[in-house]
Amino acid sequence: MKEKYLQILGIFLTVVYGFFVAWLYWAEPKNLEDFSTKAKETIENTTTQGQIIIGTYEVDAAKFADGLKAFRTDNFVAARSFFENADPERRDARTQFYIAYSFYRQGFGKLYNDDELFKKGLEQINRVLTLDRNFKSDDTNLQMKTPAELKNEFEEGLRTTVEDFNPFRLTRERK
């Protein structure tokens, strides 16, 4: 073999073996089973990152549809799981808006709201605002169409005021 080809082969093998060693120390698999799981995860992540870089990243439509179905049947935990899998990189404002909305609907209470869920919802809606400030949902089933409205609802829900003790609050409806 010519010296030139030997050098190319040497560089190629060194880079491949070097990346493998670096990956092992990064992923830290504990056994062979763990090794295959982490390898699969890494390949999926790399593929998604590649799609983002070349601009072909898309939300998984099937998973999104499953999430929407679960959302409409008030199965919010499952809905969030589907939405998160549909948009693993959290780059789609529409999917992230539904996740935030699921926190609102799950945390809403006529007597009192679930503060933990509302806090998570507030974080989530801020992410939607970062992604797309002018986002507006076209879903007719949602009463709040913009992130600003939902954000206001979360902030009001987390604030303790005299209005919270008004007995007429029991008649309010979930949006």
Binding site: E3, L6, Q7, L9, G10, I11, L13, V15, G18, K30
Partner: protein, 276 residues
Amino acid sequence: MKTEEEQTIKKVEEIDFLPVIDGELVETSPVEIDAVDEELTIVSAKNKVIEDRRPKTEDQTKIQNSKSKILDQKIYLLLPFIFLTVTLLGGLRLSSPAGDVIFWRPALFCLISAAILMVLFFRAGLISVEGWFSEDFTALKNIANGAVLTTLFAASAQIFNALLPEQGLPFWVFAFCFFWTLWNNLFADFDVKKLLRSLGALFGLAFVVKYLILANLAAPASESWLQGIWQNTTKEAFTWLLDLPRFSAGTGYIQFFTVVFYLLGLFLFPNSSEKK
């Protein structure tokens, strides 16, 4: 009379002005060659290297080419493989008693020590900068050589990771001893043989202390705390005091071969990527 004296002085002056030719006896190996092909070489200075410009026979050329190929294969395939294997195994530990694989990442100290070791390699002449990087080489050769040296650096960092205790007081004691030795070596006059002997002794001692003495001071992980205090009071005390990790015995065997591979790699490492 006067004319005779003048003639004698003139002759002496002429002798003084004779050109002095400085040279030395050059012995050549008894090779039978045609006198026609031989080139005349004039030795003008004492230390001049005389090139053998005689045409090489076909066999000689073949031997030279095969030697060059072997050297290239050693540099670009064997050495990176050895050093990357050391990099892989250097941080490998087996947990006790489950036997799970743990990849222990190198501490910052390991990188610093590896950098000092690289400087030491250059100073001692194990690696010659001109022999590995040169404007006369192609870009590809320079990159390939850089990759080989990078693997050497990675392996050096991992060898410290392998030999340093993982945490606690022993880590700092070992780290101090390594740093002290390397720092002293940095200012000492070394040749390659002495450097390799010194490193062999340093790594050998560290291996014995870590994997024979300290590993045997650590209490077995399978025992409960109370059982440990009842049955192995001293070991339990040392484990607690020195913050010793409890690894499986297989870790010592893996690290033994890591050290052997590293020293083998250094032994095979050529001073220059060019054939002399």
